[in-house]
Amino acid sequence: MNAQICTWKYGCKFAYSITYDEAFEDLLAHALPIHRRYNIPGHLVAVAGQLGQVRHVPSSSYSGKCRHLSGAQMRELIVEGWSVGDHSMTHGDLNVNPIAEVLESKRVLENALGQAVNVFHLPGADFSFAPAARYFESAGFLAVFFADDRVNSNDPDLFGLSRTLVYVRAGQPEFPLYDPFPRVYDPYHRLHEALDCGGWIVDLTHLVSPEPIALWKDATPEILDARFNCVRRVGGGWEWATEPEQVIDYILMRRAATLTPIEWGDKHSAWQLKLADVPTPVKSRELSATLELSAPISNPSIWIDRQPVAKFDRQDDRNVTWTWLARDGQRIELRWQ
């Protein structure tokens, strides 16, 4: 009989998240209904210095055209299970004023949201990472996202996480010198790869609108719907579709957790959970575990500190999987008849 912490929550085989850079107000009309239909919470990537304002970033495709969500609007989405990441104070080069862009932006966002902001998303090109990198950890961020179109492994460097683009991109190339051919978006992008490697896909898009502005980084509602449809179909119930803070928290909890067998009996077995240091900003402290049984048993039940677990996430003849709020030193017991 073998007990182990699951790679992903609920015993899922891969994880999926989606992020919206700039956190524009249009999401409420065009993206939120699709999120609700597929039960996939999203993640807003907010420019702290322009909350609730019409975008003013002269180099941006959206400048003067789109309004950022306000703190109040984002708090309503948080209630629905969404989360918010930091996209700097001005969406500028982090090296010009890293204190404001990395440290001050976090404080401004946290004040507006009334909760910790744990992830940072590099604005613009990723070149600004290296010089500013020294600030992220000390500021209390748990993770930093790039935009380099990779599937994250299930044990990734949290300060070098990848995101893949969801985009419209039809017709002739926007930048033929660099990207000489038109590209079509594949709604299955990286899903089968994630299923193969048990990794974590984090999608990245910007505006979701029937009339997108930047075809290489915006989506239409139809494209978003097709993407979520593929996520659910490829996943087939084995996908953990959630916002990225949940995933980061789970990875940190999993890394800190150890299950040690302490008792073996005729009708029960028990383990002790050891939780090493979990970073303070971690919000979700749940873990999932799977018990692999050497032989089928009847009426298995899980007890944590002598309290029964209400339900299993998954159960078959040889495996039971469940999720619980984890604390250091908990006694986890399997009973059967």
Binding site: Y167, P173, P182, H189, R190
Partner: protein, 335 residues
Amino acid sequence: MPNIRIAPWKENKRFAYSITYDEGLVETLGFAWRLHRQYGIPGQINVYPEMLGKLTGDLSAGFLQSLWNLQKFAEPEHLQFLLREGWRVGCQSKLDNPNAPAESLIQQRLELENAIGHPVRCLAFNDATSATKWRDVAEQAGFAWQFTLHDALNDADDSSTVIKRAPLYHLGPTPNHLANDPYRLLALVRDRGAWVVDVVRLVDRYPQDPTRDCTPAELEKRFQAVRKIGAENIWVAPPEIIADYRALRLRTRFADIAITREQVAFTLAVSGARALQPLTWLCDLDPVWRAPHALMSDGNAIPLQRTADNAAWMFDCPPADQARITMFDGAERKP
């Protein structure tokens, strides 16, 4: 009434896959052909006729430096070897004389055909617009198919001679930073019952142009994904063969359909195409028939097979204009 039709793809496969290599660099062949043989995926290579066997790069550099920057183009015998492996060879477009483009292309086609001893029917363009622009000229010059760089799927009912190709890349440029996804477009093409044609320039451990080149490992993962997503449902062949099938299917019509309890007969009308290869015919027949056969005009009778999904009967035969095909139950009378 029996529903007689031609399968969108050969052997009633649900979707199709091809891969092409532009420019004909010999490094590509060194890494690629073994993978092609291993995974049963014949490819297509497009070459500059005047560059066969030549070296390019900075020849003035010292020997060691030259090793790093020289590129060699395939020799005719390399291409003949690939033809024997089931590949096809196409011509990479290079319009030497804009004032007489058709003559220029004819000359290149003949030069390549003479070098390899095999017909050349495809012309590859390495951009997104030229294939459409020069399509008529290419057809005048004897090129049945024009390949373009346009990342999209080809539909089964598309009658265009321009074949869209989806580039396999190592790493896309800014601002998108796209990176190679071995499954890219494969599940989508399966869902849509369409045809995806990959294009690569160089397959090397150290890709030179990240938007057009890939590594051998990336290519192998791509082929694994083709086989995994495709399973028994994918038709894998050089694009020339699939394009011929598609065009022939779209040009074939049924006429004079006669249906009785004992037999179903029809005449073919094939417009403007030679019978280059067999088509896969599908038909729903009377369920009491136990051993359906198709009797051809030449007196040859072919037994029909059940499709994989058991939903219809099928047989393969090349369409000939005005040929009459009669289907009957071989269990009731001798074929």
